[in-house]
Structure formats: C-alpha cells, structure tokens
Symmetry: C2
C-alpha cells in the first residue's frame, strides 16, 4: 500500500489557484451531478451553540472517478476575537475502489474558498448576460473578493461596485478586487446601487433577512446568491425570486432546506415547480438564459461534488509536482 | 497555533488497548449521551454499489469536553480479494471551542474496533447476569475476537463457544480467544448450542436474516447484538426481541432505522414503547436487569460518542507519551 499524502495549506496554495482550471473542474462536477450515478448524501451538520460555531461535513461520489473527498468544514465565528480565522478544516481523499485513505489535505478551508468562488464563475459562465460592463458584490469578506475575481475570469468587467454595512470593509475589499482584476472598483452607497448599476451581482453575506428587493431587479441582470447555506439565512426577497425570469440552484433538495428556495416557497412562490439545477443547464437538460434582457438568479448552497472536484485537482497536481509529505499507514 | 498531530496505526496501538480504561471512557460516553447537551447528528452514509463498499461518517459533541472526533469509516468488502483489509479509515479530532483541527488519527479502523468492543463490555457490565461461566459468540471476524476479549474483562468466564458458518474460521477465532483470555474455548456445532449453553452471548455477523430464534432464549442470559448497523441487517428474530424481559439499545433513533428494533417494529413488536438506552440504564434513568434469571438483549449500532471518547483517550495518551508527528498548519 502506498503511503498517505499529508499536505498543508502552504503546499496546496502552490498547486491550486482560482483560475480557469479550477472553474473547469467545478463545471464538470456540476455536469456530473445532473447525470446518473452520483451519490451525494445530505450535509452532516453540527451546532456548537456555546462557542457560536458549526461544523459541516460534505461528500460526493462521481461515477467513473476513482477517488472522492470528505470535507470537514468548521465555522467558529468568535474566533477572530481569539486572533484565529473563523473558517478552518480539511479534506480527506479516499479511494472509491477500496476505501483506503489516499491523502489528507490540511487546507484550513482554502480549497473550499476556491471551489465556492469557482462555482460562482460557473454560474456566471452559463447564466450571466454575455456583456458585463459593471459587476457588483454585496458583502466584503473573503468570498466577496474571491467571487469577484472568479466572475472576472468569465465576464471581464471594467468596473465594479462593492457594498458592505461597514464602509472600511467595503473599501478594503474594493482595493483588493481592483488589484486582482485591474477593474475600477468603487464603494457603493447602498446595496440597491450595486444591483441597479450592475449586469452581474454576487451576494456573499451571512444575512438572515433578505437584502435584494424585487423592485431593484432590471433587465440584463444575473444575480448569484451564495451566502445562504443554512436554514435561516437569506439574501434575496421571496418576491424577487418569483419576479426573475429564471431561478436556478445548485441542488434543489438542498436549497429547499437551506437556500433561497426555502424562503420563496414559504412565501408561496415556486411551490408546484421543480426549478432547474445549474448542472442540468450546463448539460442542456434544462433551459437557462434565453435572452440578454432577462433577469436570472442562481442560488448556490455548496455541494460535495465541488469538494471532490477540487480535492482531485489538488491531488493530481501534487502527484505531478511533488510537494506534500508521504506518511506511512 | 500549535501544529496538527498526525499519528498512524502503529503509534496508536502503542497508546490505546482494549482494556478497562477504554471500557471506562466508552461507559462515560454512553452516560453523557443520556444527559443534556450532547449533539449527535444522524450517521452520514454513502454506498459504492460497484465496489461492494460503503462509507459511514459519525461524530458527536459531549458538553464540557473541549474536543470532538469526526470518524470516517469505509468498508469495502471485496478488498480481501485484493490483499487489503475490508475496514479502514481515520478520525479527525477538532477543538470544540475553535473548530481548529488538533489531530488526524490514521488508525485504519483500529480505534473503531476498540470502541465497538468496549461498548460490548459496557453492555455486559450493566446487563449480563453477575455470574457467567460460559460465554459465546456467533461470528468469527475481528469483532468476534475483540468482543469476547472485552466481555472477559467484565465477566471472566472460564469457558466459551464460537460458531461461524465456516468451521476453520470458528476454529481460528476460538484459538485466538483462548490465548487472549485463558478460557477453554470450543467450536459449537450450531448457533443454537452457543445460545443455549451460555449466560452471555455476542452476535457479530453481517447477517441479513435473523439467526437467534425466540425458542433458544432461556433464563439467566444476556445477548449483545452488534452486527446490525445498517438497514437490512439483522441477527435476532423479532419475536425473540419481544420475548426477552428487557430490550435495550445504544440509540433508539438509530436502532429503529438500522438496528434490531427495525425488524421488531416491522413485525408489530415494541411499537408503542420507547425502549431504554444503555446510557439511561447506566445513569439510573431507566431500569436494567432486575433479576439474575432474566433474559436481556442489548442492540448496539455504534454511536459518534464512542468515537469522540476513544479519540480523546488516544490524544490524551499521545500528548503525555510523545509519539505522533507534529505537522505545520
């Protein structure tokens, strides 16, 4: 039996970046998710009320692929007060033929950040209007930055807007996006300004009340909502979901529990329809945007197929390039 | 931030054995499970039909305990044909205060074997008749051996019986148990002989049809059924469950899906009662055996609290004793 490869964040960052390769493997994973034979159990989730923390475990098996990842994703939101990052975790890669552990990727959440932003790029690739002059982001955390960098890979906007409740955070985020993309990036005065001036918007907040309102929507617009990934979180008003020409999501069974679909259904919308999944649109099994003038929304809660895809990309590169520590079983 | 401790099976075997310490920490975990504040999500389970494999993920948080384990437990049952063990896996230990990964225990399933056998010993401690001259095991795999070694810690029997459909397997198992316990260990001619001659029986098979029949039961008997841990598996006939003076289990919510309780309820038994859990009996919240002459059954499907308990024992010992490889984050 081969040794188990142990790799830390420093070595993983040398191998995997938020680039076209990452977007392509995540796109292929969504495509596979719409096909036959994917096994993706519901997310395992555990709350640590005393510590303002949670841990999610995600996994998926893609048919024909010889390994799969189990991702452990803790979020402890008082950590910054201790000088520690909120998000951490690792991915375990196992053989889909024998169950043997192949690698432990001690990524501290880095690969999750990459695969989450890459999914935003996949949504933009398939659903955003072809021409995006201005893109916008509501939220100014790590994903705010990474989603905008990923969006620029697919729709190379020349101007961007950032809004966050804290002006300094928005300013710092805008500077980072400008540096990474070369676009002119400004701080917006309100979230409505972000939506009304943009053709592509990403929401990346932990909000528990809808931010984007129905009367902010306009033609020639795509919104990717990726902040809501737990029951109780929401960023898009239910009547905005209903007013869009198209609502799509990463996984219906998951979004009706923890995504924007939950609030929309609770408000009486989309009750008798099964919305299309992003993978079905990629595969041509469902209709996506049909005209530039349309308004589309894509709801991303995060799926295990993305984790398996990015972990396999990391492992392929590591095996070609060398870093990582072989550890005897 | 401290380094992450990476430990392989060889080093874990030096620190954790199937002994009274292991039984005591698992007993404490069951006790905690019956109290307030335990968070134990349902088992995450994934099937690999093409490879005759499955992967289970288990976890639990015990209040007042500063770390917890997430256990990844693959079982690929064609592996022996490849010269590989069927069971493998690892445990990840995380801080319950910050979510930071503290250790990765590359145990290849060893700690699972220990905590599973230790749970059998806990069941024997609280439910077996005080005097056990003869103990028996149905099944001759690794757990057949380990359950009998664990049972001997609590009820030091002088004679034991082993039955397995394959005589050579039963013979090899009997020799191993004799060597470990010093008891006289014989191969039984049929499973009924094991039950009728023993005061303590453990069933450790992957059976999908009941083996132990109601008319084999007798006074002064305890049976621990630990083979059924998935929907469709069963070792004890439904009317045997109904005929016993006491049916207890590790977790009702789990056993009604994957344990013996499922078949019993499907056959119309125990439908309007909530059976006692082992932890409730330990804690004195529920009644266990009340007379030596009774017949009791304990149904163990395996719980995340056992994993957290044994992983913490391993980590405590490792921090005291030294082995393991610190790995930079």
């Amino acid at each position: 039996m081969d040794d188990i490869l142990i790799v830390n964040e420093t070595d993983l960052r040398l191998q995997v970046a938020l680039d076209h390769d990452a977007v392509n493997v995540v796109e292929a994973a969504f495509d596979a998710l719409a096909g036959a034979g994917v096994v993706m159990p519901p997310v395992m989730s555990m709350d640590f009320a005393d510590a303002n923390g949670e841990v999610d475990v995600k996994t998926a098996y893609l048919p024909g692929v010889d390994s799969f990842a189990i991702k452990v994703s803790p979020g402890f939101f008082d950590n910054p007060q201790l000088g520690l990052p909120s998000l951490n975790g690792l991915m375990v890669v196992l053989s889909a033929k024998t169950g043997l552990v192949e690698a432990v990727l001690l990524d501290n959440g880095y690969l999750t950040n990459v695969r989450t932003a890459a999914a935003g790029a996949v949504a933009a690739r398939h659903l955003a209007p072809p021409a995006v002059q201005t893109a916008g982001v509501i939220g100014s955390g790590m994903q705010g930055r990474m989603q905008m960098i990923a969006a620029h890979l697919e729709r190379p906007y020349s101007r961007a807007l950032v809004w966050s409740p804290t002006h300094e955070n928005a300013q710092a985020c805008a500077e980072d996006i400008a540096q990474a993309t070369g676009a002119e990036v400004l701080v917006a005065t309100c979230p409505e300004e972000v939506v009304s001036e943009s053709q592509l918007v990403v929401t990346t907040t932990p909000s528990r009340d809808p931010i984007v309102q129905a009367d902010w929507l306009h033609s020639n617009l795509h919104i990717t909502a990726m902040g809501s990934d737990q029951e109780g979180k929401t960023e898009i008003a239910p009547d905005a979901i209903a007013a869009a020409d198209l609502y799509a999501c990463d996984r219906v069974a998951q979004c009706e529990i923890m995504g924007e679909l939950r609030g929309a259904r609770a408000a009486g919308h989309l009750r008798d329809v099964t919305p299309p999944e992003l993978g079905q649109i990629i595969r041509g099994m469902a209709t996506g945007r049909t005209a530039d003038a349309q308004t589309t929304i894509c709801d991303l809660t995060g799926t295990g197929v993305q984790d398996t895809a990015i972990a396999r990309l990391a492992l392929t590169r590591l095996r070609e390039q060398g870093p990582g520590t072989p550890f005897p079983r």
